[in-house]
Amino acid sequence: MTLRMQISKKVEQLAPSGIRAFFDLVLGMKDVISLGVGEPDFVTPWPIREKAIYSLEKGYTSYTSNKGMPELRRQITHFLKHHHHLDYDPEEEILITVGVSEGLDLAVRAILNPGDKVLIPEPCYVSYGPVVELAGGEAVYLKTDVSNGFKLTAKQIDQAARKGVKALMINYPANPTGTSYCKAELQEIAKVVLKHDLLVLSDEIYDELTYDFEHTALPSLPGMKNHVIYLNGFSKAYAMTGFRLGYACGPEKIISAMTKIHQYTMLCASITAQIAAQEALKTGFKDVQIMKREYARRRRFIVEGLNSIGLACHNPEGAFYVFPSITNTGQKSLDFAKNLLQKKKVALVPGVAFGKSLDGHVRISYASSYENLKEALSRMAGFLGR
């Protein structure tokens, strides 16, 4: 048996990544200014880190309940009630996961039968398609483009759903575009979801980083609670990416099914992270607001800066990404990224990583200091001959 034959067909067929080699190139290079990072440039606020250290000193090193520590579940549901008008039972309707990534994987595995179709916006976070395919489902991509700010429309979902679809994945504010939806837009989407009796996997990990309006949680809309698996976590708002802590909320039946998979495959999220998260909910909100204000300023700066050097860039509503067009350079996104890296030592992520139709874009993360953004923009201007 050759090594190749030992790998499952499904895994073998997962889109290989030309991007991987580019990532290795970036990681192997020194003195790079990186606008390619998908996590906050802030360190986890000290009170949260200190709590984690304290828990280790006190010997909290065991497993926890599969669903997650009861106190953490209570705190999260309480927070959701007061911040997002969501009403979840801490015993039956929430599961603590290892980041939203695990939550998403559990959700698709819990709901999909072989061949079930899942609607996914394009561009989207890189794992959406693969987790659906690994779970035996079929990913159906709904293309969005800059003409309407990379937003899915109710009409688009309505048309696609007529062909028999089980679920819809949505992420707002979104990685890689920063796009988000206001309440009125979500209400339109909710109508179609209810009309076609769809399940929505709503990844709202960037919710706290919404700049132009209040974030509306999808399950808070009338009639939507039973149609949404709500996914969120601590990584982006509290700068806790490495803690790997998220949660999934939804109808009891689905959460229970997800918990079944979770208990066999993951057992539980790390106790250190769960204790740290409790502290985040107790004391971290002020830090979230400070970080949010800083991101909002950088967003203004980078959007204007990119447009002024000739990379057309829409003004996204949230997260810490912008997704400018590079079509006027005549280069494909991977080539553009490689050239920029080699000539000017600025790293960013080629748009093609987020969907085949996005080869005319690059993702720029402004989770980087103002000084870095300024220097990177000036290097890019040089690269473009402006």
Partner: protein
């Protein structure tokens, strides 16, 4: 805090043009507001924060915190005596505090001797000063929110989804 002040408090070198870009305000508006703050004393001055420990000179600055007990004066309370004290150039900071003493005075000098002399000859003999307790500073870890440690490298991977 007003956003212009928030931004300037973090980096006083930002130009009105840059601040306008960051805050979404018009340049003229930013200039007008800064001028107003300078005029009404909200913005006192612009200066660099220097880590004295990094300066390799023969004489390093010696700093002492002095707790000063005061007899307040009729009508003017602590203000008059505070002014007499903080007007000495050796006094870097001066605060009125609650608790076991009244004024917390930070004194700077280029040697232990200079600081000690200042206390013995200038501060302690003042009529309203009842007593002083002096603490020489050994190391500055953090001041006004700034940690005095060389830049730490970021620990993130340079690229990730």
């Amino acid at each position: 805090m007003n956003e212009i002040l928030e931004v300037l408090a973090n980096d006083a070198r930002l130009s009105p043009q840059e601040i306008a870009k960051l805050t979404g305000k018009k340049v003229a508006e930013v200039e007008r507001e800064i001028k107003k703050y300078e005029k009404d004393g909200t913005i006192v001055k612009y200066k660099a924060v220097i880590n004295q420990d990094m300066i390799r000179e023969d004489k390093q600055l010696v700093r002492a915190l002095i707790e000063v007990g005061i007899t307040p004066q009729k009508d003017v309370g602590f203000d008059a005596i505070a002014e007499r004290i903080y007007s000495f150039p050796e006094v870097a900071s001066c605060y009125l505090v609650s608790g076991a003493y009244d004024l917390l005075v930070v004194v700077e000098g280029d040697s232990l001797q200079t600081v000690a002399n200042f206390i013995a000859s200038k501060l302690a003999p003042l009529e309203a000063v009842q007593r002083t307790t002096t603490h020489f500073l050994l190391k500055k870890y953090k001041e006004d929110g700034q940690v005095f440690k060389k830049n730490q490298q970021g620990k993130r991977l340079n690229i990730s989804y």
